[in-house]
Symmetry: C2
Subunit: 153 residues, 2 copies
Amino acid sequence: MKEQQASEIFLKYLKDGKNRITPERFEVLDSAIKYEGHFAADDLFLQMKREKSRVSRATVYNTLELLVQCELITKRNFGDNMTRYESTLKKQSHDHLICMDCGRIVEFINSKIKSLPEEISSELGFNIESYSFNIFARCKNTKTCKFNKEKNK
Amino acid sequence: MKEQQASEIFLKYLKDGKNRITPERFEVLDSAIKYEGHFAADDLFLQMKREKSRVSRATVYNTLELLVQCELITKRNFGDNMTRYESTLKKQSHDHLICMDCGRIVEFINSKIKSLPEEISSELGFNIESYSFNIFARCKNTKTCKFNKEKNK
DNA sequence: ATTGCTGCAAAACGTTTGCACCTAT
DNA sequence: ATAGGTGCAAACGTTTTGCAGCAAT
């Protein structure tokens, strides 16, 4: 998917839902797509602020929710009570392993997981919406682990 | 596992770790075991307070962490930025489906998941610590869904 | 003209911390 | 005697809200 397509999808979503089309919302979309890796809402807000954007914190938080709803970004939870987001643009669906020593997040794809969430939902009488599968682990080889929780968020 | 065994496990854990053995800590253990289903730290604190316990909020939060470390309770995250706990006493390991309409939490056991987290960790060069697998879904039959997010936490 | 969206600051929320006192060792 | 734990309140970091003004329809 190209960046321009993302704008089009967002535009369509806003129109269909009778949401207003504002420059701020597209600023947030652009910054979210540009952001490398996982980010908290406030990370994005601060980054935008650094780049002299005038978009407010409230708007960033609100817009991220809209972007989740039209599936341009994904919401993640790595067990630290902080919502993280991730653009779906360049990546296929994947899951995460979080190193409990250094906080590093490793993405992986495992074919055995793929069908499970839908299968289980159906069995239980539900329609799946999404799922999250996180593994919490520690590096076997501590040399590769930087023991730096702060930098790897 | 019986409740008394839990106290013994906790006692052993505290001694081995050179942590002090205090009545407050065992009060928290007892209340956590008694609590039906999943609970937030503050839920437990308030419940204890209602039952005239004098244990402080800080002690409840601290002790819950100790109980997680000796595996008497499990930490959960259902994507709402709130840490939830659950006694491991009466149940085997399981995963959760959360209804996005009513907030109901359905527990399930699926044999295909069991070995996956360890397998994947190992492949990636990590030692597994724990994992979380949550499915977010909506009731197919809306009649069974109470649409009451507040009460089903 | 009418809503809905925005920016700002303040409030809310769950959680953590600082500190003086206390208590298990 | 001395760490370490406790209770309390205040602080913290993330997120939400209230409100006046603004801008997309």
